[in-house]
Symmetry: C2
Subunit: 352 residues, 2 copies
């Protein structure tokens, strides 16, 4: 038997409804592939913040350093400003555990529909590789002349050679495992003149190490346009923290999977656990009703299994997901069905 | 007779082919509406750079300070790095002439097709209002440890209260002229924690001055997704220099008008001329062949006429454009026709 220790953080809103479904599916696939899960759950969240004045205990992450992975639901709730809740929980995990790659598959799944005309599953199948710990998201910066007419705010974006190179390398290595072997870089070196020309230089240097990989680069504005017009052009798309964030929401929107997209926050060296979470948020409007779609969480569980070396278990989860999506009776409302969160999760577990 | 003094800068590549068509259409509409144009043309461009080591003469802009408007084609050519050509010509015009609003209509024109399934002209009709002189595009920043393993690049984004307020005010005033009276703000205050929460504060303050305008705000990542899924939600969308740039390419892509979209760089106070240019670039791949689509330039001419107080002349240009687009024989290749640049321009002029 394979044993996996998973830290679970349901977090806020529908996170608490979909994480249990992810666990249910993991248990099911574990029975089939002989994997035993130990789930260690914590209640870090905006509720926790309201009680304790912080999103998680000081040194809270220490207890998970030896875990195999973190399985997270959603963070954020209306009464707590986003930059407090996210910078108090989600972003510290990404940073303290050095999860410098955020990986998001963009796929038009069978049984789902893209908002684009005349596009099928064969047209949309790529990955967005996002830098996840530096760049435009930075604590450096501040305000001057606060509260006066002369007020101004400064935000520093910081790109290091080490930080850029390692995420580019990850993208090129990923492309090597794919049939089309292409990497596209997101830039804006015509407008953002200090960091983006630097990014381009590092991309050019990295590409020299990978003569077997075809490359292209586009400014983020036109790249967003190409996602809509030519999603079939892309294989692996790599971008900075902000550009990767934008592209990894736009990609799923184009693929019709924004509500069910998964993501992996990866520490490639494995010196800290990686974290797996759906792209959607805590969805206050539907939270507590038992109608949230658990597929983003379950797809994230599949990414976790693959990352931990259980590719066949991951494939079994995705296959079960596709079977269930194809059946209107097991779909949740957002996908035109009537099933509740638990029914959808049970359906997937029972297919497995 | 109304007299208008227009500075024309064809610039690079297809800019030189489409600007003359814009002028042709302006002459035609001038005859009908009694407007006499004086065009003063300069050859500032990447060619100019190759000869003189700069994109335009020092103090070059002085000669146009009293002009009514600048009519620009495209700037940029492969051998000259973009951040040189653009920061040597396009961006100085925007900044020296204090064109702090970049206005771009997003419309599904009759006769064109959106890449989205089941969307018609009534679904896509909004404006993107982009901050155009500060924010993420800044000369502040630089490199440390250049050429070593420890190299890093810093880019500062700078948002001032005056700079943010005036573009927000423009957006709210624009919304007042529209039937739906809505403003949507693009933010990212959950990730970019110094400047974007500031932007949100200013948006909240401005909104208090406009109780008649409905508002919403979205993080840029999900806003891009909404452009694809719900383009019918939007009326006036306001964003920072970078976010506005992204949205004003994505919007036209969704509307199927990326190759023909116009833009206005506006100095609302009128103390300097405003500038009108198509969104497309110099298109080196098709430059010199006489096949470029002149509609973006001609639509920009219409925006210029409207800005200069000739709304009926502007409407006549747009109506002629739509008539010509509806006729496959006068369309250029990118729109599925066979007409050349000049034929398309002539067709529009003769409809007028
Ligand atoms: C050419 C580039 C600097 C420019 C910008 O980003 O402002 C362009 O993309 C535009 O939108 O006008
Ligand atoms: C919640 C927010 C800070 C986060 C981000 O931008 O990183 C989210 O959009 C994501 O993509 O995971």
């Amino acid at each position: 038997t394979n044993r996996l220790k998973i830290a679970t953080i349901p977090g806020d809103g529908i996170g608490r409804e979909v994480v249990p479904e992810g666990m249910r599916v993991l248990e099911a696939v574990g029975r089939r592939f002989d994997i035993a899960f130990q789930f260690d759950e914590v209640d870090w969240s905006c509720d926790y913040y309201k009680k304790h004045g912080r999103m998680m205990p000081e040194n809270g992450l220490d207890q998970f350093r030896q875990h195999d992975a973190v399985f997270l639901g959603a963070v954020g709730w209306p009464e707590v400003p986003d930059h407090v809740s996210l910078w108090g929980l989600l972003i510290p995990i990404r940073r303290d555990f050095n999860q410098y790659v955020n990986l998001r598959p963009v796929r038009l799944l069978k049984g789902t529909t893209s908002p684009l005309a005349n596009r099928g599953p064969e047209d949309i199948d790529f990955y967005v590789v996002r830098e996840n710990v530096e760049g435009e998201y930075s604590e450096a910066g501040g305000r001057l002349y606060r509260g006066t007419e002369n007020e101004l705010a400064i935000q520093e974006s910081i790109f290091t050679r080490r930080g850029v190179d390692r995420v580019l390398r990850y993208a090129f290595e990923l492309a090597r495992t794919r049939p089309r072997k292409q990497v596209t870089s997101a830039t804006k070196s015509n407008g953002i003149i200090h960091t983006m020309p630097f990014w381009d230089e590092r991309f050019a240097a990295m590409k020299a190490d990978y003569p077997d990989i075809a490359t292209s680069q586009y400014h983020i504005d036109i790249l967003c346009a190409h996602f809509v017009q030519h999603p079939d052009w892309f294989d692996v798309v790599v971008g900075s923290n902000l550009f990767g964030d934008i592209l990894s929401d736009l990609g799923p929107a184009v693929a019709g999977s924004i509500g069910i997209a998964p993501s992996a926050n990866i520490n490639p060296e494995g010196d800290f656990p990686s974290m797996f979470e759906p792209v959607h948020g805590s969805a206050p409007d539907i939270a507590g009703k038992g109608i949230a779609n658990p597929i983003g969480q379950i797809w994230s569980a599949a990414m976790m299994l693959e990352h931990l070396g259980h590719k066949d278990a991951a494939d079994a989860v995705i296959a079960a997901m596709e079977t269930v999506i194809a059946d209107p009776a097991s779909r949740t409302r957002d996908m035109g069905g009537k099933a509740g969160t638990a029914e959808c999760g049970e359906a997937i577990a029972s297919v497995i």
